[in-house]
Amino acid sequence: MSALLTVEDLRVRFPTRTGVVEAVRGVSFTLGRERLGIVGESGSGKSQTGRAVMGLTPAHAQVTAKRLAFDGIDLLSAPPKLRRDLRGKRIAMILQDPKYSLNPVMSIGKQIVETLQRHEKVGRAEARKRALDMLAAVQIRDPARVFDLYPHEVSGGMGQRAMIAMMLVAGPELLIADEPTSALDVTVQLEVLSILDKLVAERGMGLIFVSHDLRLVSSFCDRVLVMYAGRIVEEIAASELSNAKHPYTQGLLNCMPVIGADRHPLPVLDRKPEWAL
């Protein structure tokens, strides 16, 4: 399997008034056309890892890496124009909450068409047709109607499907999904996940699936990175998860309720300072 993405010693630093905050501290992994999960508690640096790959780190932050390459392209030395051309076309990202991540004053159809027109020379009719096809591909039943709706007029699940359509319409090879279902009702989470699952499989994309839900990640991905305080504390095949060695991973696993099991006393996530070293 040829590496689609190579990350070596990635660091993201935020200079603040009270000193430098290191959000990501030396993360390394490679990714082929496979599904990689990144888990960890809130604030462990999952999103910043994904955003650094996208090139969406806030301007005042510093990103360094020994190597950060996508399909042989060195991302950190790539000119901004090239990185923009990659974004949306070859690497795409799905954000957490469609309520905030869709432009409220632009119709859904327009937002999908915009991605397409940015990256390909397409006529209006052609762009519209492909956007409608994409809406159908995310299992929206009445694409022509949804095309003209505004984000506030659709439900969260529908909005997230629109988001997926917007990001996948140009046919990216790598998709970073940053907690794509965390903001949704439990009932629609599975629907959206299965749509995502199907599209990733059909199109042979590489996927980085960011979540704080270890069980979800393990059922959805091939491989799992466990992050804590900006570092990878364990890398493990999803099938091997129950044999996780690191106490933090075990802690995360134990937080998951198991039906029928005795829940007393409630396990509390243990955090030891030496893990963060």
């Binding site: 795409a92 905030y100 869709l102 004053v105 917007m166």
Partner: protein, 355 residues
């Protein structure tokens, strides 16, 4: 779509249209009460505060029989609420009485002078918005930079400087010293008799009639007062634009737009500014209203024959009918602008758009 779906949809549509009707009704109530309030306040100013309203209206040199007749016509021997009723009736039919100064009906005078003010305030707002919005965007995008500081200082000075004073200095520099612009007034005496305006907006009229030399002259007259007014609206507009843009640029949909690979220019102008435009419309409308008001002070300095000058001249001659008529007209325009900005807001923001 199934049968039950269709039924539900039409039910929802009916509820929505009922809501829309309620909104329109509420709208009308707001307009009506605001207008009534405006009339009540001007009535209070004109008829209740002065010890003898007739004197206030006619001045103290009017002959006795005129005073008596006016007292009768104004209904001053009637109880106050009836007077107010009559006052409202007259005002609503555009009858603000007669100006002592010009001896014309106030409404006739206002009709003559108002286009000059509208032309000035409109050009001022256009200048203010065309410069202020980009400045505000620049300040927000380059937040904390030198450019941001400069925009901030420009705005602060605009908020702090007396407009009539700046107008005097501008005249001193650009007219008296540099001769870049024409002297105070609206048009050169040479053209005053050859030029016959149709709409009362001289720039438009001159353009329409292809009188290029007139257009040039009118432009040389209007550009300085309009730029000054423009500066004041720029101060306000750029500051608000900056704050709205900062707010929008922090939103998640901006990250999403970047993730799509859009250029910064497109993200700023087509996404962030398009969202900021929703509240900005109100700001621009308010600044337009503010300029109409600011014209009272500017027009005196520039001898601009508009409503502001009319009001101040009447003030100085204790011509109460003219003052109140002018106040009501400006107040009405304020109410109208508020309504318009509300409607625009609704059309710009799909979340409030009644479908």
């Amino acid at each position: 779509m199934s049968m039950s779906d269709t039924v539900r949809m039409s039910g929802r549509r009916r509820a929505r249209s009922r809501k829309a009707i309620a909104a329109v009704l509420q709208f009308l109530v707001v307009v009506a009460t605001t207008y009534l309030g405006l009339l009540a306040v001007t009535f209070f100013i004109g008829r209740v505060i002065p010890i003898d309203p007739v004197l206030a209206v006619l001045g103290d040199r009017a002959p006795q029989h005129v005073v008596e007749r006016t007292r009768e016509a104004m209904g001053l021997n009637l109880p106050l609420y009836q007077q107010f009723f009559i006052y409202c009736q007259q005002a609503l039919s555009g009858d603000f009485g007669t100006s002592v100064l010009t001896t014309n009906p106030v409404m006739t005078d206002i009709r003559r002078v108002f286009p000059a003010t509208i032309e000035l305030a409109t050009l001022g707002t256009v200048i203010g918005a065309l410069i202020g919005v980009p400045l505000g965007v620049l300040a927000a995008v380059k937040r904390g930079s030198i450019a941001d500081q400069i925009v901030r200082v420009i705005g602060l000075v605009g908020y702090s400087v007396p407009i009539f004073w700046l107008a005097l200095l501008a005249l001193l520099v650009f007219y008296a010293r540099l001769r870049w612009v024409a002297y105070p007034g609206r048009i050169d005496i040479v053209y005053e008799y050859t030029f016959s305006p149709i709409t009362g907006f001289y720039l438009v009229d001159a353009l329409w009639q292809r009188q290029w030399d007139v257009f040039r002259d009118v432009f040389r007259h209007i550009i300085l007062p309009a730029s000054l007014l423009g500066y004041f609206s720029l101060a306000y507009i750029s500051r608000m634009t900056r704050s709205f843009m900062l707010n929008e640029l922090q939103q998640e949909y901006i990250v999403a737009a970047r993730a799509k690979g859009l250029s910064e220019a497109r993200i700023i102008w087509a996404h962030a500014l398009r969202n900021a435009a929703v509240p900005l419309v109100t700001v621009i409308a308010l600044s337009y209203a503010g300029l109409l008001e600011g014209s009272v002070l500017t027009e005196t300095v520039f001898a601009w024959p508009g409503l502001g000058l009319y009001i101040t001249n009447s003030l100085q001659n204790a011509d109460m009918n003219a003052v109140l008529g002018g106040t009501i007209i400006i107040g009405s325009v304020f109410i109208g602008i508020n309504l318009l900005s509300d409607l625009l807001y609704r059309t710009l923001d799909p979340r409030t758009r009644a479908r």
